[in-house]
Amino acid sequence: MQLLGHKLGWTATFGIVVVAINLCLMLFAPWIAPHGQNQIVADAWLTPNSQQWLGTDDLGRDMLTRLIFGARMSIGLALSATLLCFALGVSTGFTAAIAGGWVDTLLSRLVDLLLSMPLLIFAFMILSVMGTAIPVLILTVGILNSAIVYRLARSVAMGIVVQDYVEAARLRGEGLGWIMLREILPNAAPPLLAEFGLRFCFTFLLIAALSFLGLGVQPPNADWGSMVKDLSGMISLGSSAPFYPAGAIALLTIGVNFIVDWLLSIQSRGHGEGA
């Protein structure tokens, strides 16, 4: 298989298939799922059977249905938070690189501040006070993560800003907008794209972890992280129920990581050309 003129390995193909399926689940959950999200369809703790392919949970809800709706919540949340952190991180990072001087110093100090604590711990503290409503979750995770995106965007843009063609645009008298969008962005796209994948994984895992600890998505809504928590009691009884949502989390992150790995290998080959 080929994409963008480069050969796709089996890992990258696998990644693309997994991501595509997950996006479909997210977009079309109500039409794909066999039952309603909170509909009780049978007895509790049924093992997988012909009616309930993955069995039922503690209240007798269909596991497959819950998983599909969980996809919507998990991926939707992570995607919004990632988009938010990219919008924030890239625009501020580019501005810092182009403007330099005190703007750069101020923004960079601010980011150092945000990164002076582990993200998860920081998120704990904010959520403990602000509550765990979904918009709060997205904002918290998005803003905290944007610090990391800022650093990458700034360093990538720094490398491009010193190129003579950006200097040529400045000498011509071009404004900030043109330089940012026409000169820097096209050249910064490949590393940023790869970072988007990594950031998505990170955000996705972070939100799942918060939910797993009971500090993220609250009932009756469910995402994969909180499903793992709800089902975790069954593990010592030999049930494989917690593996479904946890496996779903793992599968999607592995898929995205495979794609990112492929993107990065293309880039490094691209750099090798000049040597």
Partner: protein, 546 residues
């Protein structure tokens, strides 16, 4: 047994294949053969991509990542280096055949002292005890004219200058008393005045120890000083080879003839245009990067309409900083710049669109001067759309016209700039500058990243454009040959100051300013005895000035 008459190294039909990232293989060295006799120096000449460094590395049985020695044999003392087991080949490297890299700054490990690295080969191969090796190294430092040879080895690479590092690398190569030295462009990264000293040190060393050497360079004049034989390479193939004297005096091939002629100075200087009105006047200007230091001091100069004004100096002399101060990238601290009759504000942001349009710039590295994601039309068209609001149809028509002036075909309009060669890119850069219809273009080392013959074509193009459009140029350069051939006036810079300026005829005729004379004599000339003359003159002038 080998007869004494057999060459030290005999290379037969060497071919090296390179594979690019799309998996296409091509021969970058194609059927190269040569003999290297004991005590003889063979010069390898060619432009970048000619495969000369690859031939040099192949003599060590080494190929860079992505390259492979596919055919040929290399007999060293009658044994083929290619067929040797890896261990045996490793014992050869550094001990019998040693390598001196182009950029010593990159080739020394930053985490270890110079002494550790210089004696590493002999110590590791157990050729001599460590204290003996250290004494030998100190003797070599002394022979190569390094300062404080006793303690020089204790320094880390970043603590000494480029010229000293390059000599330290020669000491490292000589430690094991090798049979063959491979010099890979060892003076390319140095200033001309330093180049003379390093070149002389190398030559003395080779003659003293009677070592054979392969000297790789793009500069025929440099090789002519040191080589007995010269081999000219192009596109991986041997164009011509012969004794140095024969190549210089009666080159057989057209390509070699052009190489030899390239450095020839014109007999007449360019004539001054008749009393042209000034386009740019700088008075008493200072500029600096930090408050503490003054990078530029008291700069005064006037450039007339349609004139070429050269600014020469070695690296660090402040000539590029002067260009940045004129363009406003580095706001000047004090003084005044008058451009087309009005004062040019110090900062870029304060200048009017018309001022920006009238003053354009072409920079040194064509590879980084063009956005690789834009087409040639995007690049050339943008200044027209930006400054004149031309419609797309007019922009296109003008762009085709400009390409024609640059001797580039119309089909280039939609090529991505990343796909062009260095010379083509530089032409597009010039077209971009001309698209703004300026009165003055600053050319910052525009040919130094290009191969000599390509650079010469760019120079002729610029001169032709000046004759048709009446544009003025500021040439920032370290190359006095260019100044001599291209400029009407010249200013010589040293440590941020202009030490002398005037017309070419004034500056380049006796009596010389002492520094100008040093610079002038340091430029390698296409004759084998140039280095001897320079060194002889330096000795006499040192004797005269106590």
């Amino acid at each position: 047994m080998i007869a004494p008459s057999d060459p030290l190294l005999r290379v037969l039909g060497l071919s090296v294949q390179a594979v690019d990232r799309r998996g296409n293989a091509s021969l970058i060295v194609d059927d190269v053969s040569y003999d290297l006799q004991r005590g003889e120096v063979l010069g390898l000449i060619g432009e970048s991509g000619a495969g000369k460094s690859t031939v040099g590395l192949a003599a060590l049985g080494f190929a860079r990542r992505g390259c492979e020695l596919v055919r040929g044999s290399e007999f060293f003392h009658g044994r083929d280096i290619r067929q040797m087991p890896a261990t045996e080949r490793r014992q050869l490297r550094g001990a019998k055949i040693a390598y001196i890299a182009q950029s010593a700054a990159a080739a020394f490990n930053p985490a270890k002292t110079l002494m550790e690295q210089v004696i590493e080969t002999v110590a590791f191969h157990g050729l001599m005890p460590v204290d003996q090796a250290q004494m030998d190294a100190i003797a070599l430092f002394d022979a190569l004219g390094l300062p404080h040879p006793q303690s020089f080895g204790n320094a880390y690479p970043h603590q000494v200058s480029g010229g000293q590092l390059q000599r330290a690398m020669a000491a490292m190569a000589m430690m094991a008393n090798p049979d063959i030295l491979i010099f890979d462009e060892p003076t390319t990264a140095l200033d001309v005045t330093t180049q003379v000293e390093v070149l002389a040190a190398f030559r003395n060393l080779i003659r003293q120890k009677h070592t054979a050497a392969l000297y790789v360079s793009h500069d025929l004049a440099v090789v002519a000083q040191i080589a007995d034989h010269i081999m000219v390479l192009r596109h991986g193939k041997v164009v011509e080879s012969g004794t140095a004297a024969r190549i210089l005096q009666s080159p057989q091939q057209d390509y070699t003839r052009r190489l030899v002629r390239e450095r020839a100075s014109p007999t007449e200087f360019r004539k001054q245009p008749d009393a042209a009105p000034p386009v740019l006047t700088i008075t008493r200007m200072d500029a600096n990067y930090t408050k503490a230091s003054r990078t530029l001091r008291d700069i005064n100069l006037t450039i007339g309409m349609g004139e070429t004004f050269a600014i020469v100096g070695e690296s660090g002399s402040g000539k590029s900083t002067l260009a940045r101060a004129i363009t406003g990238l580095l706001p000047r601290a004090t003084g005044d710049i008058a451009f087309l009759g009005e004062t040019l504000p110090p900062r870029l942001a304060q200048r009017s669109k018309r001022q920006l349009q009238m003053l354009q710039m072409v920079t040194q590295m064509p590879d980084t001067a063009l956005n690789p994601h834009q087409s040639v039309l995007d690049v050339i068209g943008r200044p027209m759309a930006f400054y004149f609001n031309h419609s797309p149809a007019i922009v296109r028509a003008r762009a085709i016209e400009l390409l024609a002036q640059m001797d580039l075909p119309e089909s280039f309009l939609h090529r991505r700039t990343g796909e062009l060669s260095g010379g083509q890119k530089q032409r597009v850069c010039i077209a971009r500058a001309l698209a703004a219809e300026p009165k003055l273009i600053i050319c910052d080392e525009v040919t130094s990243a290009l191969d000599p013959l390509i650079g010469e074509e760019i120079m002729q193009l610029l001169q032709r454009l000046q004759q048709t459009t009446g544009i003025a140029y500021i040439f920032i350069t370290h190359d006095l040959g260019i100044v001599r051939r291209m400029a009407h006036k010249v200013a010589v810079m040293l440590k941020g100051e202009i030490i002398t300026q005037g017309t070419i005829a004034q500056i380049f005729s006796p009596p010389f300013h002492p520094y100008t004379e040093k610079l002038l004599t340091s430029v390698p000339q296409m004759r084998a005895d140039w280095l001897d003359d320079v060194l002889a003159n330096r000795v006499t002038s040192q004797l005269q000035t106590p």
